[in-house]
């Protein structure tokens, strides 16, 4: 780990002021990913601004009958919050599918979506990686790319975003509240993460001098019909090869509204409004679900070791939707 200095902020304004005086500084909260990246020299901040004690640690109902998740509430406290469990079980399931109990006790709601990819080459400073060192090349393209992306890739980067929580937040149309030197703004969750394009070093549309203050959940939580299906090499404590957040609003067995977001397949949680529209008014059955899976995976491309993900994702989508419709048991 490199040498660095440390500042603890107790107010948002103090954190922003500190950042203005040290633009290369990094904010740290739960620290579960940043500390690790510092140990392997992928991140080498010369100054850390500890924001864990900012007063952003509440979960409150919003005026619009939604729920505001404070940025510094831990993932564990969020997943087990009675209102999250009852109104947004899809989010609770996704959070609990990720990491371990210890990590969920540390990781925060603001930090989880900001975690970096677990691409081996990104972590290995001896190899080329455009995300870590722009312009150096992508070692995964022709390397061992079993865990890599099949959708939305570019010639510069085929990394995937590792968060489970972000997949559910994308499906639920959450909103990210941020504050920075220019004031406050709101970023819709589906627009929060970016595709790699020719700037894979930039993961999100959050500016480096902004802080996430809260994540808002809208009124609609799809509490009745939802599923989070995560497929991985071991059944716990592993990142997704493919994951599916599925939510349905049903009238009998006719679909009124559908939400589908995929994890483990792209640089951001993958959602396609036209695929969801395709299900509206249709019967909830395996055939219709298989059709929507084809739409979601249209244009998917493997890079050798990860070719299996295309078929895996299609089958996972069908299974998650069947689970959401309660036509198949949750496994």
């Amino acid at each position: 780990m490199n040498s660095f200095t440390y500042f603890r902020a107790h107010e948002v304004a103090a954190a922003l002021t500190e950042k203005a005086t040290a633009p290369q500084a990094k904010f740290i909260a739960g620290g579960t990913n940043l500390t690790d990246l510092m140990k392997v020299n992928v991140e080498q901040p010369h100054h850390l601004i500890d924001i864990r004690r900012l007063p952003l640690n509440k979960i409150e109902e919003t005026e619009e009958n939604g729920l505001r998740l404070g940025a510094l509430v831990t993932n564990a406290d969020t997943a087990y919050h009675p209102l999250v469990e009852s109104r947004y079980p899809l989010l609770a399931k996704a959070i609990l599918a990720g990491a371990s109990a210890q990590l969920r006790n540390m990781a925060t709601n603001g930090g989880n979506p900001l975690q970096r990819t677990r691409c081996y080459y990104f972590y290995d400073t001896a190899t080329a990686c455009n995300k870590r060192e722009p312009g150096s090349g992508c070692s995964a393209l022709n390397g061992y790319n079993r865990i890599h992306a099949i959708l939305g890739t570019s010639e510069h980067c085929i990394a995937v975003h590792p968060s489970d929580m972000a997949v559910a937040l994308t499906a639920l149309d959450a909103k990210v509240n941020v504050t920075g030197p220019q004031g406050e703004r709101v970023i819709p969750f589906p627009e929060f993460h970016r595709l790699p394009g020719d700037t894979p070093n930039i993961d999100t549309n959050l500016s480096p001098d902004e802080i996430i203050t809260a994540i808002d959940l809208p009124t609609k939580g799809f509490a009745e019909n939802n599923a989070y299906l995560k497929l991985r090499d071991r059944t716990s404590y592993a990142f997704a090869l493919v994951s599916v957040a599925a939510a349905l609003e049903l009238e009998g067995n006719i679909i009124k509204e559908a939400r589908i977001a995929l994890g483990g397949v792209a640089h951001k949680p993958w959602r396609k409004p036209e695929a969801e529209a395709q299900l509206v008014g249709k019967e909830a059955n395996p055939e219709n679900f298989a059709q929507v899976a084809e739409t979601l995976l249209a244009g998917a491309q493997g890079f050798g070791h990860n070719n299996f993900k295309i078929e895996l994702a299609k089958r996972a989508i069908v299974r998650a939707l069947l689970q959401a419709a309660k036509m198949e048991e949750i496994s």
């Binding site: 200095t5 500890d50 371990s100 210890q102 716990s236």
Partner: protein, 178 residues
């Protein structure tokens, strides 16, 4: 001549280290004041500065759980947090679980069920299990396995670890035993 040049180069290269900070931690019910650089992890503070070597450095990357301790009663990976960030917090390590000579029920249960082989992961397993118990989310054997998945046992003592945790739950009248 050469010696002087070397010395000059050395002086140029040497960068002053940032100042250390006074960090106060309550460790196993005793207040400890440490003078630490910002990059000292909680794990290193416990092991290298306080001599509490029961907490183990397995992977040092939050993947094995050997470094699990309780901070304000909650289990965390001490390798992934900076000691300075835990200022004022209440830390319980494996050394702090027993009351005098009386072992913690979880320690007793691990012995009773032979829930280890080499013992390296055991302090982390026990601290994690104590955290799991106070969280109260495990309702059955499957839940215990899922919620203990952050602790890896290279010897594969999992079956007996689960039995030990179930045993303590039973003692506490917890429904999580079947």
């Amino acid at each position: 001549m050469q010696k002087t040049a070397e010395k000059e180069n050395l002086e140029k290269a040497s960068v002053a280290l940032p100042p250390t900070h006074t960090v106060t931690l309550k460790v196993n019910n005793t207040e400890k004041q440490l003078q630490l650089a910002p990059w000292v992890s909680l794990l290193d503070a416990l092991r290298e500065y306080l001599g509490l070597t029961g907490t183990k450095k397995g992977c040092d990357h939050g993947q094995c759980g050997a470094c699990t301790v309780l901070v304000n009663g909650r289990r965390i990976n001490s390798c992934l947090t900076l000691a300075i960030m835990e200022e004022g917090n209440d830390i319980t390590t494996i050394e702090g679980l027993a009351k005098g000579d009386a072992l913690h029920p979880m320690q007793e249960a691990f012995i009773q069920h032979d829930a280890y082989q080499c013992g390296y992961c055991t302090p982390g397993q026990i601290c994690s299990a104590v955290g799991l118990l106070s969280e109260g989310k495990a309702k059955n054997e499957h839940d215990i396995k899922e919620l203990m998945s952050g602790n890896i046992c290279r010897c594969g003592a999992y079956t007996n670890i689960v039995a030990a945790v179930q045993d303590v739950m039973q003692q506490k009248g917890d429904p999580a035993n079947e």
